[in-house]
């Protein structure tokens, strides 16, 4: 692997990797069971540099902002490298966001370049705010011949034969602007520096070293901070290979494990649970005798790997399980949301350790990770090397807000010094999560202090961001809260959103209002929907600028009613 201390920027490190392992495979892309792309590091360079050259011709230079909106595929990485090569700042946007929200973030980040997949571009072109899109250059991938691109250029034809000039960037300069939330109200654009990423990559690969021959299966979108680091920067700076699968269908994921002999994979809890359900079902369908033998072997494996994983032993004891995963799988990584300990233990007992971690975009992705020394299903692991974690204002049980200090912490929120100073206090990042550090240095999480929820798909939802969907409701005022913020509980599962409705004097919450509420709720993406409503009969406390004092309102509600007052929509 590269010694990342020697490099100043992601572009410089990636460039060195492409020279270091020219004949190793770095990237494969499969659409279902059809392999579409297979590139060595040399071929990756040959694909990216003509794009970089054309981007330079279009004046993408040091500090120019360029966004990518694409599903999980090889052109994402090729484009990202070309942007870094030119000294640009990458703005990776979530392709699953509605087009209107993508347009808001494109405007907020002031991008000059946009690289986007055709079907997503089509949706953007059909959206009201499209005419205000300020990007100078738009490149569209995979557009059918003859398609109307609304003035955009075809990615596949956007290249130049001129040798591009590598543009260096400093460690403290911005590498990416990553939105952790904020499409509805106040965008949170985390400005992450080259140092943030290089330090994070060093910390992660010191625990889980990648090397040539290692194959990482990428099913999370690369705009996801975890996949960007563990499915791009990490493997590339170690000479490993990334396999992009353009579908989340379980049958093709299973096929990819076997076909590509996958070594590592990152998933969100929802996908891990789905794999668990599938395996449990297959085990249950075994004839009784075979099931008894299997259970005995699983118990034996558990007993023999209690101190640390033993891959060779587990593969010998449980060959049918490991063969189903291709026979080379060393570990899963899971993050983005809380994972139930029983699920982690289930896989560990099969000899498939799950690196359970905790992090956030503001901290440069990963803060803590299980090191399997020994495996602990009840924690999110220990802080990565170089990352300090402390618990602020701990209560009698040692539980308080998790604060983090390290070179991986973002430099700021884009154009928001006020929110930056509230979030980074004396160089400590206040995460808003509640946790405790146990006697062995493992972090355990107990809930949130902040008003937000995380879905099992790993999506962070801030109530303020979805309130625009309810503007114009026939009430005097309304406010959306995370239920666990109104009524704190020590849990990080089944988090829900609640809308508080204050009717006009003399009016009640009637059928028409509820129908309107339900219809608006349906229009939201499924994971952003509110769970229920709470009728409230007092005026909301407001600031001088007529904004709701959310903390104060939450306190009043908490003092007056409990969860049972919420009516499910």
């Amino acid at each position: 692997m590269l010694d990342l201390r020697e490099y100043q920027s992601l572009g410089e490190a990636l460039r060195a990797a492409l020279e270091r392992w020219p004949d190793e495979i770095c990237l494969m892309e499969a659409d279902r069971d059809r392999e579409k792309v297979r590139l060595t590091y040399r071929q990756f360079k040959e694909a990216a540099l003509p794009l970089a050259s054309a981007l330079q011709d279009a004046e993408l230079g040091s500090g120019t902002r360029a966004a990518i909106i694409m599903t999980n595929q090889s052109k994402w990485l090729i484009s990202a490298y070309a942007i870094f090569f030119c000294g640009g700042i990458l703005v990776p946007l979530d392709y699953k966001l509605p087009a209107a929200e993508q347009l808001q973030l494109l405007a907020h980040s002031k991008v000059e370049f946009l690289i986007v997949e055709y079907h997503l571009w089509r949706a953007i072109m059909q959206t009201d705010g499209f005419k205000n899109l300020a990007a100078r250059v738009v490149l569209v991938t995979e557009a059918p011949s003859g398609a109307d691109l609304g003035g955009a250029k075809r990615w596949e034809e956007f290249n130049s034969e001129r040798e591009p000039e590598f543009v260096p960037r400093g460690r403290q300069e911005a590498a990416c602007i990553v939105y952790s939330s904020g499409t509805g109200g106040r965008p949170k654009g985390c400005v992450l520096t080259h140092e943030n990423y290089l330090e994070q990559c060093m910390a992660l690969t010191s625990l889980y070293p990648f090397s040539p021959g290692v194959r990482y299966l990428s099913i999370l979108p690369t705009n996801h901070a975890i996949d960007f680091m563990i499915g791009f920067i990490g493997p590339f700076t170690c000479g490993a290979a990334v396999v992009h699968l353009r579908t989340l269908r379980p049958e093709f994921i299973r096929e990819a494990f076997r076909r590509y002999k996958i070594t590592y994979m990152t998933l969100v809890p929802m996908v891990l649970k789905s794999l668990e359900r599938g395996l449990r079902q297959r085990f249950a369908e075994l004839p009784k005798g075979r099931r008894t033998v299997l259970n005995t072997l699983i118990k034996t494996n558990r007993a023999l790997t209690r101190r640390k994983p033993n891959m060779k032993l587990s593969r010998t004891l449980l060959p049918q399980v490991h063969d189903a995963f291709g026979g080379e799988l060393r570990a899963f990584f899971v993050g983005g949301a809380f994972t139930e300990p029983a699920t982690l233990q289930f896989f560990y007992d099969l000899g498939i350790p799950v690196g359970n971690g905790y992090g956030c975009t503001e901290a440069g992705t990963v803060i803590t990770l299980n090191d399997f020394k020994p495996f602990r299903a009840d924690t999110v692991g220990k802080p990565l090397p170089g990352i300090a974690v402390k618990i602020m204002n701990a209560d009698a049980e040692g539980i308080g807000e998790v604060a983090v200090r390290s070179k991986t912490i973002m430099s700021k929120y884009l154009d928001d010094p006020e929110m930056t100073s509230q979030t980074i206090v004396d160089s400590w990042l206040m995460t808003g999560d509640l946790g405790r550090i146990d006697s062995t240095g493992h972090l355990q999480l107990f809930g949130r202090k902040k008003n937000m929820i995380v879905t099992e798909e790993g999506k962070n939802i801030y109530p303020e961001d979805i309130e625009t969907a309810f503007e114009g409701l026939a009430v005097k005022e309304f406010c959306v809260f995370a239920a666990n913020y109104l009524w704190p509980q020590r849990s990080m599962v089944d988090e829900q959103l609640v809308i508080v409705l204050h009717s006009e004097a003399g009016k009640t919450i009637d059928k028409d209002l509820l129908e309107d509420l339900a219809a608006r709720n349906r229009r939201l993406t499924n994971y952003k929907r509110i769970h229920g409503y709470l009728a409230w009969d007092q005026d909301f406390p407001l600031t001088a600028s007529m904004k709701i004092k959310r903390g104060e309102l939450a306190e009043k509600i908490r003092g007056a009613v409990d969860r049972s007052a919420v009516a499910v929509l």
Partner: protein, 80 residues
């Protein structure tokens, strides 16, 4: 070619069969995530079932932003 109405009905029938709910409980404008109590991965399972039935290929992204049977049927209809 099937009409949108018949495609919608077929989609609801397949969903009812796949997730074992009485078909008469489903209507075209139902939010299938809520009505069937499923997550996005389980919805992809339904997509696979639909592909086999209609003998078409639906990329995962066709499910993006779709949560009711009628809109899903519209997406299918463009590929029939």
């Amino acid at each position: 070619m099937s009409s949108l109405q018949s495609t919608t009905e077929e989609v609801m029938r397949l969903a009812a069969e796949h997730f074992k709910v009485p078909p008469e409980q489903l209507t075209p404008d139902d939010d299938f995530f809520k009505k069937l109590g499923i997550n996005s991965l389980q919805a992809l399972d339904l997509l696979t079932r639909i592909e086999h039935h209609f003998k078409i290929e639906l990329p995962d992204y066709e499910l993006q932003g779709v949560s009711d049977f009628r809109t899903l049927a519209e997406r299918i209809q463009t590929r029939l």
